[in-house]
Structure formats: structure tokens, C-alpha cells
């Protein structure tokens, strides 16, 4: 009897839907709030959200982020305001995917996305540069730098609103 009971359990599980995935042939979708590789976001017109403030780097407990800033001009504008990230690097071997950078960012420029397949054969390859991190230009948008009307993008951070 005990034997049959045991076999019943086995048969029940054989007939059930499989819980395992044949990774890498089959990839399991991740949750909405999964924290994978970072992406640097753009505005709809293609301008970069990142203003090179390095607050993400300051917040990072693993010291994985490296930012060097430079100055925007209206003829060569990467982001709104005066400052943009000239160099932006994340060392994925150091990153612990805590998402503090996301929290620190004043412009919601850095977001931990769903990409998790990060593997390298060389330590140096673990450093993701700005080109690798930044989102593609949205349709209708234009790649940076932009040439813009003087004083049309003076403010780095979207204006604050009164509490509703």
C-alpha cells in the first residue's frame, strides 16, 4: 500500500506542468521589479536623462560606478541643464544589484532592468561603458548630442511641483 501511495505521488508530479526550464534554450520571464543590468534612460526626444551628478556612484555600496562629468552647451547638448556624464561606467563584477543607484538618481536616469545574462571571460570586460548601458534612441527621437535653441534646456531636473 505504501508503495502505491508513493508511486501515486510520482505519477501525479509526472503529469503536472514542469517547474524547471531548459535554460538557456528556454528563458524564464523575470518579475516586474527584478533588478538586473542597469540601463541609462533617455527622454522621448532622445536626450539623455543622466546629468552626470555621480550621486549613484556616491550611493553605491560596492563602489562599482564611475562617473566623469562635462559641460553641455546649446550646440552640443547631451542632457538638460549644464552637466552631463562624459564617462559612465559600471563594473558588473562589483555591482551587487542592490538598486541604491536607482534610488539616488535625481532624474530617474538609471534603472535596473531585466537583463541578467552577464558573463565575461576577462575581468576588464565586466566594465560596462556608457555606450553599452544607454538605451537605444526612441522612435522619433534623435541621438545625442543635440543642437538646441538657446535656453530651452536650462534646467537639469524637471521642475518640482507643489505637494498635491
Amino acid at each position: 500500500m505504501g508503495l502505491i501511495n508513493g508511486l501515486m505521488t510520482t505519477i501525479k508530479h509526472v503529469l503536472q506542468e514542469k517547474a524547471t526550464f531548459q535554460y538557456p534554450e528556454v528563458e524564464r520571464p523575470v518579475r516586474e521589479r527584478y533588478k538586473g543590468r542597469h540601463a541609462l534612460k533617455r527622454y522621448d526626444n532622445g536626450m539623455e536623462k543622466c546629468i552626470g551628478c555621480a550621486l549613484c556612484a556616491a550611493a553605491c555600496p560596492a563602489d562599482a560606478i564611475w562617473v566623469e562629468a562635462a559641460e553641455n552647451t546649446d550646440d552640443e547638448r547631451y542632457s538638460p541643464g549644464e552637466r552631463y556624464a562624459k564617462t559612465y561606467e559600471i563594473n558588473m563584477l562589483r555591482c551587487i544589484f542592490c538598486g541604491y543607484c536607482e534610488d539616488a538618481c535625481p532624474t530617474e536616469a538609471i534603472v535596473l532592468e531585466h537583463e541578467y545574462k552577464l558573463s565575461f571571460t576577462d575581468r576588464r570586460d565586466s566594465i560596462y561603458t556608457k555606450d553599452m548601458l544607454i538605451d537605444p534612441v526612441p522612435p522619433g527621437g534623435q541621438d545625442t548630442p543635440h543642437q538646441v535653441e538657446p535656453h530651452s534646456y536650462d534646467r537639469p531636473i524637471p521642475d518640482m511641483e507643489n505637494p498635491k
Partner: protein, 860 residues
């Protein structure tokens, strides 16, 4: 000392000091301030420092303090709060800083300031070391009752000149920048424009923000409203590593902090991102000149020499250190004569090793020259140099500051700033020169002498002092002879009042430069100054003595280690078989150095290709001050350390290491492995330097006022001194027993006829290091000469004409400026502005030919 009460606790504090300062220093009570700055007169504009204030009640008859029931003093409080920054402490002053009233006042002020503040801290260069941020965190209300929509939006990128940018939104209108430029720097360059909410900072000078101290306003601005073009967005303050260093340009020895960081554009190496002042109340307080602040770009310039070069078939080609060393060693071993010329930026360690090398291969002290070779008088400094412990901060009423043959603001801006501050506190300034300079504005006595007659001018002073019986000859050795010689001096009456002021002063400091003075005359001029100081007893006491306005950051160190300008003069006349030129460019700067080509074998250490490397047989890449350790000795004989800040460029080496290795190969002496070890040897060999071990030099002390601690809101972003305040060596006059030599000096003028060309020194020139800082290029004037209107008329020249001036076989093409401050018969010719070498000593001009018309004059 007086007793004051802060939050019920009594403190003993010095009378007459500022309440905010003493509260911080003695009671550790940080009264928040925005507009108040410890270095400037209070204005009470921002109201951030409001406190409750009162006075202790005293018994009218006996003056004893009345006590209340608890036994603490009875205090009569004022009905309204008062600004602490405008209050000088007096006995019985009481304040309360922790009451609800005070807390609310602080919250309100911060809230008001923030109503129109952009709060773009994330991109603000001050963010992280911002007084407004810090005070908002500590005293701000946290919420605001104002509407965000009502915020003022103003221009964020207003250039005030090409060096400083103003963000109008961030300005909180404290006027610190205006007050600094106006009161301290004496430059009327900034002003408020409009009123109320439209109030803004504007620059009122042309060229805009025309001040040699403009960078300091960015430090003391309590917000990020003023930023430098040099640093803008260079890094966040918390990412920077501060390395203590010393200004590589001037004789003042200004303490600086090099803010360094890795940089991808520079191949991932550590570079200097900005230069900030480091507090040293004995030296530069919290100020640096713009040359010091922005002149650091040579340290990583693309043209830096990165490998040794040697001459093959008349061109310099790259070689290895081994080959270069071998060549040098072979030459030095067989040399019939050896000489060395040491540049102004060589550290004491470099100078020592160079000296040891020259001595080891048969040279003597006579073959150790300094560059620039314009000033003499090292022996005089040993006797009567400014006494140890002197400090311009403590000079004021009763002090006389004498400037002789120097344009102090151009030659030593920090001394100028401090001397002027002393004058504002009541010191008397006496200027003796052939033309007016900026200091004349503040001088009580502006005395003009003919160029070439500086010694005569000082002799007049001496004669007045002796004739008027104002002298004290008790310590003067050789007074009888001097007195005899003075009989022949016709004392010019114009000097009488100044002589009296000097004789009657409590303290006298003499700055002695070399404008319009030949090297031979300069030795006499220094002695003449010493005569005045000795005979009036202004030697060997704090705040008394002579400060030579040396041409380089470490000229004093070179002189201490046996180098002289006289030796340079000799080397230029008769070049030795093997010549070592370390870190300078005589051939490119001075027409008198053309002769150096005749040396058989020339070894040059340099950071760049210059006219001097062009005559070299071996060129060795030298490290800049930022890449290595070492010490400089300032004109006040303060030995100070600087530390290695940035990564080494190419294969360059510090000079001391190069010379130590060469010597090691020649005489098998142990080559030192660190700059500290070289200094250890110096301390054993040079008496004056016996206390200069690196450990001593790194000593720090608490300084007042407190600036740049962890709480940087107080005095701006000058950095705390962690690298050492340095050690001064004493002069012989400080030994009260020592006799001091007074020597008659001849006041004969040269008899040559013709226009006298007087080389002058400008702060911003095309010197081989400074010119690499392109950010300053607009501030460096074109090669020019100043003519008096009379001479210009005689020669039919107009402002702006290009002329060719012929001098002793050399000729120089410059633009002329007709300048009414120049005396007739004189042309002043600033040094190092042209690619051609110019004169370093005054000399009579040969022919002067016009080569091009002024542009305006040709206008049709």
C-alpha cells in the same frame, strides 16, 4: 581677556575679538553665518547669525557681577535678537543660542533663502561642501510654506570674465565676493546691480573681473554661485583626494591643496582637478593667486618630455636612461670644468643632490648658479631676514612696511595682499621705486627715484636717520665707517618724513626687489636696506626684518644651499666645459645667456622643449612639483613640504634622483632612495636646516580663525592644513648678542647715455611652465614695452606701434604702450612675454626702429 557667557557657561576670551569667532573657537558653538567671513569686516546682511544677546548686570559701585538665586550671573536681555557677527566681545556679554526664538529665526532665514534657490545640488560644484546645504540640513525647517511656482528663474551661466562663472539663481547676495575684491584685493571689479529680487552681481571692470585674486571668491562664496572655468563639473568634492602642496611659482610659499582624481581622458591616471588654498595663517592664510590656482596645467601637458633625449648628428633623438646616464658620466668624469644653473622650481633635495654632484666632479660653490640670476644678498638675509615667528596677521598700527624696487602685486601677490591688509589695520606703507605700482595707492609715502639710483634712495633714508640722530648703533659693526661715508651722501629732503616714520616705528618690514637694479647694484641695495634696519633696531624681533622678493619659489632654498646669482653671471660669461641646467630656460629668457652655447657639453633637465634644451647634448625629463615629494623654502625662510599628488608622466624622474644616481656611479656614494633621506642628509650638513627633518615639517597646529574643518560652511572651501605648517630658520640678528654689519654702499649711478630699458616682472608671463595653462592665455599680455609720452613723441611712436629694440647685439620686437606712469628716459620691458629672449638687467637701448604702424593709426 574678558568673560562672556554663552548659553549660561562662562568663557575667558581675548577682548576685542568677534563674537562668532570666539564662540566657535572657545565654546565650540557654531553660530551659523552666511555673509560674515572671519577675514572681512562684518556687514550684517543675511541675518543668519541672530542670537539672543544681553549683558551681565553689575553692581554700579563695586563692579561685581550680580548673581541670581541659582548663583549664576544676572543678565539683562535685549528685547530683540541681535546679529552675532557684528558684535565684538566685551566683559559681561551674554548670548543664548539654543532657545526656541533663535531656532525659529534660523529656520525662517533658511526658508527665505530657499524660496528662490534652484536646489540643483546634484549638478552644483559646491554640492557636498556647500554652506547653504549644510546649514539647511542643520537649521532648515524641512518644509516650506512657499509655492514652488513662485521660484525665481534666472540666468545660470553668466561669465564674469573668462575664469569665473556666475549662477544668478544660486547667489544668496551675501556680498562676500564683492567685499573680498573690493576690501581685500583692492580691485573695484564686482558690484551689486539693481535691487530687491532683481539684485545681481555684475562685473564693472574691463576686462571683466580683472583681479589676480578672482579665484578666491569661489572659495568664500557660501553657495555654488561662483565657479571656476577651470574646474566646472570636474568632479564632486567627495570624490577628490586632497594632497598638500606648495605653490611652485612664487617666493611666498603659498600652501595649496591639490584636489586629485583618476581621469579617463588622461589614460586613467591620477591628475590634478583643481588647486585649492590650504590654510596657513603664517603664510597665505586662506588665499592664493590665480596664477597658483590655474597654473597647474603644465603638470600633465601633452608636450611634457617623456623620455631622455641625446644629440646625434645635430638633432635630439630619444634614448634610454641607461645610455643617457653613461654619456653624462663619461663627460663628467673627464670634465675640465663643471657648472650648474638651477631653476626656481627645484626643491631643496634637488638642489642638494645637484650640488653634491658638482662638488664630486671637481666643481666648487663658485660654479653653482641660480636662475633667474637677478638678485643677490643671501648673506644679508642670514643676518637681518625677517625674524622667525613674524606674521602679517599681527601687523597693524605701529608697523611700517617698506617696498623697495618691487612691483609686489606682480612679483609676490600673496605678500601684497597681506601687506595691504596690514595697511588697512593701520600699518604705514612706504614705496620706493622708479615708477608707481598698485601699492602706491595705499602708500603714505610714495617716493620716486631715478632707475639705477635705488641705492642712493636708501642711502638718503639712512643719512636722514643718522643725521637726525634717530639711530641706535649699539649692534652695528662698522658704524664709524658708515657714518663717514654718509657725510658724502646728499640726503634728499623728500625722504626725511619717511625716514622719521621708519625710525619711530615699532616694527619695520622691508621688501626688497630688483626692479631697475643690476645684479651688482642689488648686492648693495640689500646691504643698504640692512643698514636702515640695523640702525633703527628693526631686526631680530618678530615682525621686523628684510624680505627679499626672490624671483622663484625656492630661490631662498638655493641660496641656503650655496647657489648664487653671481655664480650664474660668471657661468654666462665663461661657460664651463660641462654645464648642467636644471629646470630652467636661460637661453630662451635672457639675452645674456646666449653665450651658454659655447659650453662643450650641456645637460638639461626639463619638463618641456625650450630654447635651452635646443642647445643641450643630453635632455633628461624632469618631474613637475605635482609628481614628487620635496621641500621649498619661502622668502620668509619657511621650509615647507609638498607631497606627491599625481601619476608620473612618461619616464620622468625627480632631479634629486637623477643627480644622486649619476653621483653614485662616479664616486660610489650611496644613492638616496627618497626625498626624505636627502633632507635627512641636509639636516646634518647645513646648520640652518638642522630642524628641517620631514617629521618636523609635517607638524600642524590649530589655527584661528577656524576655516575648512569638517564643517566647511564657516570660512569657505579653503582646506585644513594637514601637510604641515613648515619651520622657519632663525637669522643671526635674533641672537641679541650678535653684532650686525653695516657697510657703506656706493650710490653712484651709471653714466651711460640713452634710453634705459628696465626689465619688469609680470605675474602672468610666458614662462615655460605657466604658459602651458591655456586657460590663462587671455590674461598674458602680448610682448610689449612701456614708453613715456615724452619719449614716444620724440621717437614719433604711437600707442600700439610695433618696434624693434636693439640691445647689446640682440634685438626684440615688441608692441609699445604709451604710459604716463613711466618716467621719461625709461622703457619698461616686462620679462618673458616674447619668444625671443629679452634683457634681465637694466641696460641702455641701442637703436629703436618702428617696424609696424599701430592698427588704429592705419585705420582708413
Amino acid at each position: 581677556m574678558v568673560t562672556i557667557y554663552i548659553d549660561g557657561v562662562g568663557y575667558e576670551v581675548p577682548a576685542g575679538t568677534n563674537l562668532v569667532d570666539v564662540a566657535k573657537f572657545y565654546a565650540d558653538n557654531d553660530i551659523p553665518v552666511f555673509c560674515y567671513h572671519p577675514k572681512m569686516a562684518p556687514v550684517g546682511m543675511c541675518r543668519m547669525c541672530l542670537v539672543e544677546m544681553g549683558s551681565v548686570e553689575k553692581d554700579k559701585e563695586s563692579g561685581t557681577v550680580l548673581l541670581d538665586e541659582q548663583g549664576s550671573p544676572k543678565i539683562r536681555w535685549m528685547p530683540k535678537m541681535q546679529t552675532a557677527c557684528t558684535q565684538t566681545v566685551y566683559d559681561g556679554l551674554a548670548i543664548r543660542t539654543n532657545t526656541q526664538q533663535v531656532t525659529e529665526a534660523r529656520e525662517d532665514i533658511v526658508e527665505f533663502l530657499l524660496t528662490s534657490h534652484p536646489l540643483d545640488c546634484p549638478i552644483c560644484d559646491k554640492g557636498g561642501e556647500c554652506p547653504l546645504q549644510n546649514l539647511t540640513m542643520r537649521h532648515g525647517p524641512g518644509v516650506s510654506v512657499f509655492y514652488f511656482e513662485d521660484k525665481m528663474h534666472l540666468a545660470k551661466h553668466v561669465p564674469l570674465g573668462e575664469l569665473i562663472y556666475l549662477d544668478r539663481e544660486r547667489c544668496i547676495q551675501c556680498a562676500r565676493c564683492i567685499r573680498f575684491s573690493d576690501e581685500l584685493a583692492g580691485d573695484d571689479v564686482l558690484a551689486f546691480h539693481e535691487r530687491g529680487r532683481a539684485l545681481q552681481i555684475v562685473t564693472v571692470s574691463d576686462p571683466p573681473f580683472d583681479s589676480k585674486f578672482s579665484g578666491n571668491t569661489t572659495d568664500i562664496c557660501p553657495v555654488g554661485a561662483l565657479t571656476t572655468a577651470d574646474f566646472r563639473f570636474g568632479a564632486r568634492p567627495w570624490e577628490l583626494k586632497e594632497v598638500p602642496s606648495i605653490d611652485p611659482y612664487g617666493p611666498e610659499g603659498a600652501n595649496i591643496s591639490l584636489s586629485t582624481r583618476l581621469d579617463r581622458d588622461s589614460g586613467g591616471g591620477i591628475i590634478i582637478k583643481r588647486v585649492m588654498p590650504r590654510q596657513n595663517e603664517h603664510v597665505n592664510e586662506i588665499w592664493i593667486s590665480d596664477k597658483t590656482r590655474f597654473g597647474h596645467h603644465h603638470t600633465r601637458h601633452i608636450d611634457r618630455l617623456v623620455t631622455p633625449l641625446h644629440r646625434e648628428k645635430n638633432t635630439l633623438i630619444e634614448t634610454t636612461w641607461d645610455k643617457a646616464f653613461k654619456q653624462i658620466i663619461d663627460k663628467l668624469k673627464g670634465a675640465t670644468s663643471v657648472g650648474a644653473i638651477a631653476g626656481p622650481g627645484l626643491s631643496n633635495e634637488d638642489l642638494w643632490e645637484l650640488r653634491q654632484l658638482v662638488l664630486a666632479v671637481g666643481g666648487s660653490e663658485k660654479s653653482l648658479g641660480i636662475w633667474p640670476a637677478t638678485m643677490s644678498g643671501g648673506e644679508v638675509v642670514k643676518q637681518v631676514g625677517i625674524a622667525k615667528g613674524s606674521n602679517f596677521n599681527t601687523m597693524g598700527k605701529g608697523t611700517v612696511i617698506v617696498l623697495v624696487a618691487t612691483d609686489l602685486e606682480e612679483e609676490a601677490p600673496i605678500w601684497w595682499l597681506r601687506a595691504k591688509a596690514a595697511r588697512d589695520r593701520g600699518a604705514t606703507v612706504v614705496v620706493l621705486n622708479g615708477r608707481p605700482t598698485k601699492m602706491d595707492r595705499y602708500a603714505k609715502f610714495s617716493l620716486r627715484h631715478e632707475y639705477g639710483d635705488a641705492v642712493g634712495a636708501i642711502n638718503s633714508l639712512t643719512a636722514h636717520i643718522v643725521n637726525g640722530n634717530h639711530h641706535k648703533a649699539d649692534r652695528a659693526e662698522g658704524f664709524a665707517e658708515l657714518q663717514k661715508a654718509l657725510k658724502k651722501v646728499k640726503a634728499d629732503d623728500r625722504y626725511a618724513a619717511a625716514a622719521e616714520a621708519i625710525a619711530g616705528a615699532d616694527n619695520v618690514v622691508v621688501f626688497c626687489g630688483a626692479e631697475g637694479v643690476t645684479l651688482a647694484q642689488h648686492a648693495e641695495l640689500m646691504q643698504a636696506c640692512a643698514n636702515v634696519l640695523i640702525l633703527t633696531g628693526h631686526v631680530g624681533r618678530t615682525n621686523n626684518g628684510l624680505i627679499p622678493v626672490w624671483p622663484g619659489a625656492n630661490t631662498q632654498g638655493a641660496i641656503d644651499l650655496g647657489y648664487t646669482a653671481e655664480a650664474t653671471a660668471e657661468l654666462l660669461q665663461n661657460p664651463p666645459a660641462v654645464l648642467i641646467v636644471a629646470g630652467c630656460n636661460p637661453v630662451g629668457e635672457d639675452i645674456a645667456a646666449a653665450n651658454l652655447r659655447n659650453a662643450d657639453f650641456v645637460i638639461v633637465t626639463s619638463q618641456f622643449d625650450t630654447a635651452t634644451t635646443a642647445i643641450a647634448d643630453v635632455v633628461l625629463p624632469q618631474q613637475s612639483f605635482a609628481e614628487r615629494e620635496g621641500t621649498f623654502t619661502s622668502g620668509e625662510r619657511r621650509v615647507q613640504r609638498f607631497y606627491a599628488a599625481q601619476g608620473v608622466i612618461g619616464e620622468s624622474f625627480p632631479d634629486w634622483k637623477i643627480f644622486a644616481q649619476v653621483r653614485h656611479a662616479i664616486d660610489k656614494s650611496t644613492a638616496k632612495v627618497s626625498a626624505g633621506a636627502v633632507m635627512a642628509e641636509i639636516t646634518k650638513s647645513v646648520a640652518a636646516y638642522s630642524a628641517m627633518g620631514y617629521k618636523n615639517l609635517a607638524q600642524v597646529e590649530r589655527q584661528f580663525p577656524d576655516v575648512g574643518g569638517t564643517d566647511q560652511y564657516y570660512g569657505g572651501t579653503a582646506y585644513q592644513n594637514t601637510g604641515g605648517i613648515g619651520v622657519q630658520w632663525p637669522v643671526s640678528a635674533e641672537n641679541a648678542e650678535a653684532k650686525l654689519n653695516v657697510v657703506p654702499v656706493s650710490s653712484e649711478k651709471s653714466k651711460a647715455k640713452g634710453l634705459l630699458v628696465v626689465p619688469t616682472t609680470l605675474l602672468y608671463d610666458r614662462g615655460m611652465l605657466f604658459v602651458r595653462s591655456e586657460i590663462m592665455s587671455l590674461r598674458i599680455p602680448p610682448a610689449h614695452a612701456n614708453f613715456s609720452p615724452a619719449d614716444a613723441q620724440k621717437l614719433k611712436l604711437q600707442d600700439g606701434d610695433m618696434v624693434e629694440i636693439n640691445l647689446e647685439g640682440a634685438s626684440l620686437t615688441v608692441q609699445i604702450i604709451v604710459n604716463e606712469t613711466i618716467p621719461a628716459g625709461v622703457i619698461t620691458l616686462p620679462k618673458c612675454l616674447s619668444d625671443q629672449p629679452g634683457p634681465f638687467a637694466p641696460m641702455v637701448a641701442g637703436s629703436i626702429e618702428k617696424v609696424a604702424q599701430a592698427l588704429a593709426a592705419t585705420g582708413d
